[in-house]
Each structure stands twice: as structure tokens, then as C-alpha cells.
């Protein structure tokens, strides 16, 4: 089991979702994706769409300013 980091704080729609989805597709089952994202659309929808696609959202936590961290298990 490994953890892969992904920073999408500077990305805009739809690449926030696209980069998350592509990163998740490259992981093995049980691996964790640590996503840094900003408030608004990415924070509202990246965890939601990950859950809807059957991934497990382990944690959503505030980092600093507008930045949040989301841990997603494949």
C-alpha cells in the first residue's frame, strides 16, 4: 500500500476532476491518493464524485488558507 500525492490547487475545471481520476486509475487497490485542492467546486465535488465512483474518502482536512487535503483510498 502506497500514498501518492497530487496537487490540483492551481488547476481549473475540468482538469481538477480529470487529474484526480487519472491519478486514481493508476493506483493499485488499497493505495491512497492525497489530493491538495482549494475551496469551492473542487472541495465540494472531488470527494463527492470519488465516493460516487466507489472510492473511499478517508479524510477531508483544512491545510491553510483556501487549501484543503483529501485522502482517497482506491
Amino acid at each position: 500500500m502506497s500514498t501518492v500525492k497530487l496537487d490540483i490547487t492551481k488547476e481549473h475545471c475540468p482538469m481538477t476532476f480529470v487529474k484526480t481520476k487519472i491519478a486514481l486509475s493508476k493506483l493499485q487497490s488499497g493505495d491512497i491518493l492525497e489530493v491538495l485542492l482549494v475551496e469551492g467546486e473542487p472541495l465540494q465535488n472531488v470527494p463527492k464524485s470519488s465516493r460516487e465512483q466507489g472510492y473511499k474518502v478517508l479524510e477531508v482536512s483544512h491545510v491553510e488558507g483556501l487549501v484543503h487535503k483529501v485522502l482517497i483510498e482506491k
Partner: protein, 170 residues
């Protein structure tokens, strides 16, 4: 369990499927097509794009202006229509200068360019189809398109594929 939860179990949910008829070969409308397609595919939708008429320019293997197509008129149209790199914007095209300005602005503001969106659509395995009738008019063959184009279809097959989801015409 309340009534909302119960009804969610009983009522079948609408399948997550988005089908887009990509008619326009305009730069801005192709950006809209591929933004919706990649966003939907990345959030778990099955996505189908049916390219027809001017929209076929977006999936040509040759991205610039080239004499693609069969017959004299087909080749002339193929050259004038061009490919993804020569798509004009639908307003204020300024003789073809505007798409370059848009590409510059998109890169500068860290927004995915049209070419990046097309690459993302390929990576997300968006289903891309070409319209048989429009290809026949323009003298185009499947080999003139990028290899990610899954099939050449007519209306009836596209309607079957898109059934049960949402369909957009762009």
C-alpha cells in the same frame, strides 16, 4: 428508513450517461464539448461524442490544413476546413488570429487548452464516433481520423447508444 430513502431504493436512478452531438468545428464550441466530456467522464459518466459535419475537423489525424478526403471537391473542402489546430472561433475570429490569442490566454491562466482537453478525453476513454453520412459527403474515411475514434455510425445507432442518458447538441 424515511420515505425519501425508501423511494431512492425503489425508483431506478437515471444512468450516468452523457452523449454529445459535436456539430460545430468552432474552437470555442469544441472547448465546450471537450470540457463537458472530460468533466463528465472524470466524475463517473459514460460519455459518447458523435462528431458530424464541421465537428469532424476535431478528430482528423492531420491537425492543420491538409488535402484530406476523396475527390477534387472533397480535398478542397478538407483543406479549407482544416483540423483541430485550424479551428476558428465562432465570434471575433479576426482572420484566424483569435484562436492563437485564446490558446495563449488559456496557457497563461492555467486553463486546459483544446489540445489538452482532447488528450484528456482520450486518456479517460471517452467514446468518440464519426457520422457516416457527413463522412460520405466530405469524402472522408475512418483512416483520416485519430485512432481513438471507436466507430463510424448512423443516427439509429447513435440513438441506441445515447438512450437513457442526457444528450446535448453543440
Amino acid at each position: 428508513m424515511d420515505t425519501t430513502e425508501l423511494s431512492a431504493l425503489i425508483e431506478p436512478k437515471e444512468p450516468k450517461k452523457l452523449s454529445i452531438i459535436s456539430f460545430s468545428g468552432d474552437f470555442d464550441k469544441l472547448v465546450a464539448t471537450f470540457t463537458l466530456a472530460t468533466g463528465a467522464a472524470a466524475t463517473g459518466y459514460e460519455v459518447n461524442i458523435f462528431f458530424t459535419f464541421w465537428g469532424l475537423d476535431a478528430i482528423k489525424e492531420k491537425k492543420g490544413r491538409a488535402f484530406v478526403g476523396k475527390g477534387f471537391l472533397g480535398k478542397i473542402f478538407g483543406f479549407l476546413m482544416g483540423g483541430l489546430h485550424s479551428a476558428p472561433v465562432s465570434r471575433l475570429n479576426f482572420c484566424g488570429i483569435s484562436p492563437g490569442i485564446f490558446r495563449y490566454l488559456m496557457r497563461k491562466k492555467n486553463v486546459a487548452t483544446l489540445e489538452e482537453l482532447v488528450e484528456a478525453a482520450k486518456a479517460l476513454e471517452v467514446n468518440m464516433y464519426a457520422c457516416e453520412m457527413a463522412m460520405h459527403i466530405l469524402g472522408l474515411q475512418k483512416s483520416d481520423f485519430i485512432h481513438e475514434v471507436k466507430d463510424v455510425l448512423g443516427v439509429a445507432t447513435f440513438l441506441d447508444i445515447s438512450e437513457g442518458g442526457r444528450t446535448l447538441f453543440i
